[in-house]
């Protein structure tokens, strides 16, 4: 029996205020992108913004990527912990990038929190968190794939006041300016974040003025309860029981690895428990993630399984529980390095995905590229001699599923409304030329439904002394196929030197030097296939060959279809396929 949220207040007014809250979240989100200085924010949309209630429960969040779902509440809760008992004043803004508590991901993600007062009382918080292109540390771009502790990874903002009652704390601004490589970017983004927070504050106050504080607060409860009800209904439809999966994280950046990780998912009528105990302890390299980061990943896949289309708030996650050991690679503790935390965080999500895909096939698909496949390329522009810095994720192949081929060239689960940088924009801004941006049609991921192709993107250096760092996970363990579909292929990076030498393939590589004419070739994975390849209709296989997604030889070998290489007509089925009677 469906339990319905009821309230004494007029239900339509509650609904209208609730919708207004969601609209405020959207407005704050757009404001930030439009004014940001950094491609990582306005193209990758590597940020989130939203509102929480007075206790730090998430009410509405505008997301560009999935990875921040859940971190805003922790930032606010950390702020409340430190500045409870009336130490927060109207006009205060707190800056925080604590990687372990307080909404931790890595130091590059800088959060701002602002209490919203009405009638002298905190009614909500406005909060956002954005990836700053620079927070200092040992490497340009700050996040480093060979850091050995947090101190190498940049400036730490341990929940301190950036604004005191509306007055900027200039000392902090000066410290930032002195410690980061592109201060105009970092501070520009900071101002964009401040403006977005103030927008949220203004709108919430308008709502309180219009409807009264009491009604506003009732709407907040209504919103959270409404989210919880929707989640519980979806939960009730899931198969009950215990589901296990194991996997490996490739590498920690120092050649250590493989690190085994595991999950036990228990679904009951009213709980969804992800138990990661028994996973590998935290490691020397920066591939560790903190507990809060893992929770965000679990939330992401929980939403994918329960109801991908709903607006997320903390009510939705009430049935969710995440258990880990202390100090594991999935719940790292200070001062473990966490720069490239997303690799382990996403591996955690992938485990749940893999455990549940067979039983929730209408919502989940076969394995995908999984890694953010991040690229940091720095150098000087060949025409202006100005320094440039590329910080970007890569698109790759996604897994197939019942009734659907995998998506080709799409950012991984940790990203989302993330945009690649157009070739024409990249060549104007950066000291590189793009030789190729094409699908990586290696024919992996064969199946009744085929895995989506990854891509090849090649940057040719146009000046000397450039440097590229790549973090391509899922380099040793390829995307998994499902229901007799074949596995996909690996993410990998090659360096093609101007003199013809080729180095690689690499998964993780810090600071590879590039000189004029050298090419870094970024190749991403093809996703896993779904179902027996022999079940793919012969005509469709022939069309795949015509389109160059697979070769005629692969059609023969993997799919059992003989395709004429010139006319692309089906000439027959192999004996294997005939024997299997497909």
């Amino acid at each position: 029996m469906t339990q319905i949220v009821r309230s004494k207040v007029d239900p339509f007014t509650l609904e209208i205020v609730k919708d207004s809250l969601v609209a405020i979240g959207d407005e704050m989100f757009i404001a930030l992108a439009k004014t940001s200085m950094s491609p990582i924010i306005y193209e990758v949309l590597d940020y989130a913004s939203g509102l929480t209630d007075a206790k730090g429960q998430l009410l509405t969040q505008g997301n560009g990527v999935t990875g921040f779902i859940g971190m805003l509440s922790d930032m606010v809760k950390q702020t409340l912990k430190k500045f409870g008992d009336g130490k927060l004043k109207e006009g205060d803004i707190i800056i925080i990038n604590d990687s372990y508590g307080g909404g931790g991901s890595h130091l590059s993600d800088v959060g701002l929190v602002m209490p919203i007062f009405f009638d002298g009382e905190i009614v909500a918080f406005s909060a956002n968190k954005a990836h700053w292109t620079e927070v200092g540390g040992k490497d340009p771009g700050s996040f480093s794939n060979d850091a050995t502790d947090i101190f190498q990874e940049g400036l730490q903002f341990p929940s301190v006041k950036l604004f005191n009652e509306g007055e900027i704390n200039q000392a902090i601004v000066d410290i930032i300016e002195a410690n980061v490589r592109f201060p105009e970017l970092s501070l520009g983004d900071m101002w964009a974040q401040v403006a977005a927070l103030k927008t949220g504050e203004k709108r919430v106050k308008e709502l309180c003025e219009k409807h009264g504080k009491e009604l506003f607060l009732s709407s907040v409860d209504y919103l959270l309860d409404h989210g919880e009800q929707l989640a519980r209904q979806e939960l009730s439809k899931l198969p009950k029981g215990t589901f296990n999966a194991e996997g490996f994280i490739d590498d920690d950046g120092f050649g250590n690895g493989l690190f085994k990780i595991k999950v036990k998912v228990t679904i009951t009528d009213d709980k969804f428990v992800a138990d990661f105990r028994g996973s590998h302890p935290q490691v020397p390299g920066p591939v560790n993630c903190s507990y809060t980061a893992l929770v965000s990943a679990v939330r992401t896949i929980f939403l994918a399984i329960t109801n991908p289309s709903q607006d997320a708030n903390d009510g939705v996650f009430r049935p969710l529980e995440v258990i880990t050991d202390m100090g594991s690679v999935l719940s790292a503790e200070r001062p473990a390095p966490v720069s490239i935390y997303w690799e382990s965080m996403l591996a955690g999500a992938d485990l749940i995905w893999k455990a549940l895909a067979p039983v929730v096939p209408h919502r989940l698909n076969a394995g995908h590229l999984l890694s953010v496949c991040s690229v940091v390329l720095s150098g000087q522009h060949q025409d202006t001699n100005e320094p440039f810095l590329i910080v970007e994720p890569s698109v790759g192949g996604w897994g197939a599923s019942e009734g659907q081929d995998g998506a080709r060239g799409q950012f991984c689960i940790g990203d989302g409304e993330t945009y690649n940088v157009p070739v024409e924009v990249a060549e104007t801004r950066y000291g590189v030329m793009v030789d190729e941006y094409s699908l990586h049609t290696d024919g992996a991921g064969a199946g009744q439904y085929i895995g989506g192709s990854g891509v090849i993107r090649s940057y040719k250096a146009l000046s000397d002394n450039q440097m590229v760092s790549v973090t391509f996970g899922r380099n040793k363990f390829v995307p998994w196929g499902m229901k007799d579909g074949q596995d996909g292929s690996a993410n990998e990076v090659y360096i093609e030197k101007a003199d013809g030498d080729v180095d690689g393939p690499f998964g993780i590589y810090p600071r590879y030097p590039l000189n004029k004419g050298d090419v870094v070739k970024l190749v991403t994975a093809t996703g896993g296939g779904y179902g027996d390849p022999f079940k793919r209709p012969a005509d469709q296989v022939a069309q795949d060959v015509k389109n160059g997604y697979i070769t005629a030889a692969q059609a023969n070998e993997s799919f059992g279809v003989i395709v004429n290489e010139k006319t692309f007509e089906v000439e027959g089925l192999t004996k294997d396929r005939q024997r299997k009677g497909q």
Binding site: A23, R363, Q410
Partner: protein, 681 residues
């Protein structure tokens, strides 16, 4: 006589204005797939003398239909070597964040029809490798074999230097004159290869469709001895000739809807209202757009099929900025999984339509709620209305769920629908830094005037204008349009390093291009009017602000003036400016209007200001705070100049009604427009 015809989903509308300024309207059914038949039908139905048509303006959904129904032609694409997959990779984004089974939009050109040729420019437009013509010949031959009907050409950096695209088009025309071909620089000169390629492909995809449609329509007009100047409405709010419409049909993608927005601006000009919010409610959607200081905002950030769940397809041509939401008269009210009332985006459409239509509709809609609350009367419908059935639907689907009366539930539906529309209206106004108190709201479309007075009050707008012929206002807007072409050239320059003489040359070159195009279209230079904009940002930002900039020659002072203006606009939109931060131009944007003679509006002849003469009846209507109120109802057709009516009141006209709330009042102006004071201080 000027005649405008506008093809809609169900009806094809006609509005004409004769030499005396008299306006007439007609409606007939839309006739897919031979849309031109509906146009001729409606002309005949209107009874006008076809030989007296001097100017014929046409808005059409043929292009958008061909795109969304995938009824275009088999298209081949030629790209720079290494980049044929750009169309398929697109931007790699996944708007439906938590849906891991997200499906990317399928490219309009399958991979085997995307072919690559050696050629390369750098970002400055310098040729690094010349075009491989042998390879090009092979591709053209291959396309012939594959029975391609249209070719799109999109090379890297062609927005700076189109030399290779031009060579390619010339070769295609030489070797295969029959095939339709479009090069990217012909449709857009902005950077970003995916967006430009997508626009080019879509233009090619519909080009033969557009040509044959325009030709058929033209022939029909000639058959009927109509010797008129013929224009087609474009998405930028202006018109173009039949010939140029055939070349770049993608410019007609929003041909119909923008005319109403443009009409609102024209009406504002006549009434001396420079700040307008144009608001249009139809059967399935509500659309709104903000006109600031008389300027209809145009941008190239347009997509088809883009929503929260899908990335859609970008079309980088100038389109009037419209926010559209799935909330119209036919929008369905429903209860979600956790018991909340929602309205839309599902619509009962024209068939079966609202329950009130009695055509088999079972789901309660906004129109049904308006009927139950007395805002509409059963007489307003073309159908026999079964009130009990409507009540039962609202009771069963909404009221029972909340344990409330049918009229409270109906009012709830209206309030939720209004809340959705209010969010859209806020999106274009307050959230862009505009104060609604400084704007008047022009309401049109079948449902615009019904909801506008309440919404305007909520938004903080003081005045609502319901124009004459508000239900066919888009066609009226077309009557009032000028020719318009937009030229947008990506031109990346820092303002502090800008050489005014170099920039002046660029402006002049764009203006020369515009004059040349108008000359070809038979418009004399004296009738061409330029407006310039520059898309500017702080160095490092991605998004730009469109800044109106001066015509004529620029000096150093002009540049600092422009920088200052940009800073103010940035602050208005985003609450802050960054003093001292360098600024950068991204695009130069020239709007060139070809002015045409338009008739003066006719004034009302009746001057009776006694509202009693237009009185129809008194019936109960249900309002938020006052419950059932005996409300006077009036015929609009009997309104005279200066007539005043105080709320609560309802005004009825064919296919629209206006609801005046208890604390609001209505005045009829000299043209017959309804001017409503909303009660906002």
């Amino acid at each position: 006589m000027r005649v405008a015809t506008d093809i809609g989903g169900t009806f094809t509308d006609l509005v004409y204005v004769n030499e005396e300024g008299e306006i007439g309207v007609a409606k007939s059914h839309t006739t897919p797939p031979n849309f031109e038949k509906g146009v001729i039908d409606v002309i005949e139905k209107s009874g006008i003398d076809q030989t007296a048509i001097q100017t014929f303006i046409h808005g059409t959904t043929v292009i958008i239909n061909a795109l969304t129904e995938r009824k275009g032609v088999r298209t081949g694409l030629i790209t720079t070597k290494g980049f044929r997959d750009v169309l398929e990779i697109a931007r790699g984004n996944r708007p439906d964040l938590f849906n891991v089974r997200y499906q990317k939009p399928v490219p309009f050109v399958e991979r085997y029809l995307r072919q690559e040729v050696e050629e390369r420019l750098n970002y400055k437009g310098e040729v690094l490798s010349s075009l491989n013509k042998e390879r090009l010949k092979e591709i053209i031959q291959y396309f012939k074999e594959q029975e391609v009907e249209a070719i799109a050409v999109a090379y890297l950096h062609s927005y700076v230097n189109p030399v290779h695209e031009i060579e390619t088009v010339n070769m295609v025309k030489e070797l295969w004159p029959e095939v339709a071909v479009t090069a990217s620089h012909e449709v857009t000169k902005e950077w970003r290869e995916y967006e430009r390629t997508s626009t080019t492909v879509l233009n090619s995809y519909v080009k033969p469709i557009a040509a044959s449609y325009v030709n058929r329509l033209h022939n029909k007009l000639i058959e009927n001895e109509t010797d008129s100047q013929n224009y087609i409405m474009q998405s930028n709010g202006g018109t173009t000739t039949f010939n140029s419409a055939k070349q770049t049909p993608i410019n007609m993608v929003e041909s119909g809807p923008v005319a109403g927005i443009y009409g609102a601006a024209v009406l504002g000009e006549i009434l001396d209202e420079k700040n307008i919010i144009a608001f249009d409610i139809g059967g399935t959607t509500a659309k709104c757009s903000l006109i600031n200081q008389g300027e209809v905002k145009v941008s190239t950030d347009y997509f088809i099929e883009k929503n929260e769940r899908s990335a859609g397809y970008p079309i980088k041509v100038p389109v009037v900025d419209i926010v559209e939401i799935g909330n119209g008269g036919g929008s369905i009210a429903w209860i979600d999984g956790a018991g909340s009332l929602k309205v839309g985006p599902q619509s009962a459409g024209a068939l079966p339509g609202p329950v009130a239509y009695g055509q088999g509709g079972t789901e309660p809609t906004t129109t049904d709620a308006n009927l139950i609350t007395g805002r509409l009367s059963p007489e307003n419908f073309d159908y026999e209305v079964d009130l009990d059935k409507v009540k039962a639907a609202i009771k069963e689907k909404v009221a029972d769920h909340f344990g409330m009366s049918v009229e409270d539930a109906a009012l709830g539906i209206i309030r939720i629908a209004n809340s959705n529309m209010l969010n859209a209206l806020k999106l274009i106004s307050v959230r862009k830094g505009h104060n609604p108190r400084e704007f008047s709201l022009v309401a049109f479309g079948g449902g615009g005037s019904m909801h506008a007075p309440a919404l305007a009050k909520e938004l903080g707008v003081k005045k609502v204008i319901v124009p004459v012929a508000s239900s066919v206002f888009s066609a009226w807007g077309m009557l009032m349009t000028d020719l318009r072409h937009d030229y947008i050239q990506t031109y990346i320059r820092r303002l502090n390093q800008l050489d005014p003489s170099e920039l002046n040359k660029e402006w002049i070159s764009i203006e020369t291009q515009a004059l040349k195009q108008y000359q070809e279209e038979g418009v004399s230079e004296d009738d061409v009017l330029f407006t310039r904009f520059a898309d500017i940002r702080y160095l490092g930002q991605e998004h730009t602000v469109k800044v109106p900039v001066p015509n004529g020659e620029w000096s150093e002072e002009t540049i600092s003036e422009v920088v200052e203006r940009f800073g103010d606009l940035h602050e208005q939109h985003y609450t802050f400016k960054l003093e001292g931060t360098p600024t950068e131009i991204v695009n130069l944007h020239l709007t060139a209007f070809g002015k045409v003679l338009k008739p003066e509006l006719k004034r009302l002849t009746s001057t009776s200001s006694d509202a009693q003469e237009a009185y129809k009846e008194t019936r109960p209507a249900y309002f938020e705070n006052s419950g059932w109120v005996e409300t006077k109802v009036y015929y609009r057709s009997l309104f005279g100049k200066g007539m005043k009516i105080s709320g609560p009141a309802i005004e009825e006209e064919p296919s629209a009604s206006t609801v005046i709330y208890p604390d609001q009042s209505l005045t009829v102006d000299e043209y017959g427009n309804l001017i409503i004071e909303t009660g906002v201080e």
